[in-house]
Amino acid sequence: MTAAIVELEEVGGRLGAEVKARSGAAPMSCYQCAKCSSGCPVAGRADLKPHELVRLVQMNQREAALMSRFIWECTSCQTCVTRCPQKVDIPAMNDALRAMSASEGVAAGTSVPLFNEIFLKSVRKRGRVYEMGLMAAYKLRTGRLFEDATKAPMMLAKGKLPLAGPRVDGRSERERMFREAAEGGGE
């Protein structure tokens, strides 16, 4: 019997290469030791463990990777890449998969892309994040109005939520920066 040798570069080259081009992470270097998963703070609750997600990428399982809940539950704590013997940058890989998942509209039951969108809009307009405005907009758009409803008055009383939002000069330069970034940096 001849052993079937799977040539990963051929099988999974496409998604692996796309992730590498977008993020610099090299998922094809992973040899599945699972050290990432033993230190991952969300491995116990997500649908996948980090080494399993890397395997999906290696095997070109695009749909399963982009629709996984794990990519949205990763806290970007950097433990996996710190300990990885092959230095596979899983947080950077997840960033690439998140961007692809959100832009292809297949993000699995998560409000994280919406939160990110509201956050970046504040940065674009004001130059800084206005936490109170961010929370209000997020709550309105998700309909989660009463979640943590007691927190805002408490934070106000503690002086942790200024009523006036920040505004930094240079709005037109920021508009240009965001526009050019979206276009890929003028390539």
Binding site: T79, T82, E131, M132, K158, K160
Partner: protein, 293 residues
């Protein structure tokens, strides 16, 4: 060495107490921290989950504006994003060229970025800090909690030891407190999931609080606005959900250091803490009853 200070968005809002206590400590040490003019947000997780180029360009705008001066940073998350941008820009000519177009100038990725813990422990040094300690925090057992982003990944941040940092422990010992050995120094609190999926934060922060309690501490010291907020503001929710009792005050390390240097409770914004620290500080003879005002 001279610095220009990058406070970051949290320090003007939910972490105002970190901001205030940082400036109070700096003033006791004669350390000047002029604020970087017209700084903008580092982009945080929202930017790096959305667009890698924007995630480098936002910090680069500030690093370029610093004009070669050393950037002093208090927020661990801003520190991470600033260092990450430097790492990408200095290490990749193509990224450098793209970022140059976005920020309107060729930034080389070499502006030094130093966290307050590095500045206090390594630049100023413990000897000078010891001289500024007027009211040692005798008998106060502290769990020094560093979180994720100061020490990881070490190739990027080059901060202390990635798995067992000790800079904050050294500072707390210099302030007369007793830092304890405990295993959750660099575990994740759940960070910005506080807003989008608090169940992650409640579970991870519960594990950190439980481990600190098991180590027999009186309180926790933090160096990150998200860590502090999750462990402090969510502590009651965590106690309720997991049927526990912690009542552990969660300070910014600058608040404790400031108290040791003789700052008033108001100067270090103790009133901003959700878990009230007054009973503890009175029992240890660090503050009197006037602190409660």
């Amino acid at each position: 060495m001279s610095y220009v200070f990058f406070p970051g968005c949290s320090l003007d809002g939910t972490a105002k107490d970190f901001h205030r206590s940082t400036l109070a400590v700096a003033s006791r040490l004669g350390l000047e921290l002029p604020e970087l003019k017209d700084w903008i947000c580092c982009g945080s997780t929202a930017a790096h989950s959305t667009d890698p180029l924007l995630a480098d360009a936002l910090p680069a705008h500030n690093l370029f504006a610093a004009g070669g001066q050393t950037l002093a940073v208090a927020c661990a998350a801003c520190y991470s994003r600033l260092k990450m941008a430097n790492h990408h820009i200095a290490g990749d000519a193509a990224v450098r060229a793209k970022v140059a177009r976005l920020v309107g100038g060729d930034y080389d990725g070499l502006t030094p970025v130093r966290h307050l813990l590095e500045i206090l422990c390594q630049d100023i040094g413990r000897a000078r800090i010891a001289k500024a300690v007027k009211r040692p925090l005798k008998g106060l057992k502290v769990a020094c909690y560093y979180g994720c982003l100061l020490s990881r990944p070490p190739e990027v941040t080059n901060f202390d030891d990635a798995e067992n940092p000790t800079l904050m422990d050294q500072l707390m010992a210099t302030a007369g407190a007793t830092p304890v050995d405990w295993p959750h120094k660099t575990e994740c609190c759940g960070a910005s999931f506080s807003i989008t999926d608090s169940s992650i934060v409640l579970k991870l922060s519960d594990q950190i609080l439980a481990m600190a309690q098991a180590a027999g501490v009186d309180c926790i010291a933090t160096a990150c606005p998200l860590c502090q907020l999750n462990l402090d503001m969510r502590q009651k929710d965590i106690e309720k959900r997991y049927q526990r009792k912690y009542n552990l005050p969660v300070f910014y390390f600058t608040q404790l250091l400031g108290l040791a240097m003789g700052c008033t409770p108001q100067e270090v914004s103790l009133g901003s803490l959700v878990v009230a620290p007054y009973g503890l500080l009175e029992a240890k003879g660090i503050c009197g009853a006037e602190a409660r005002r």
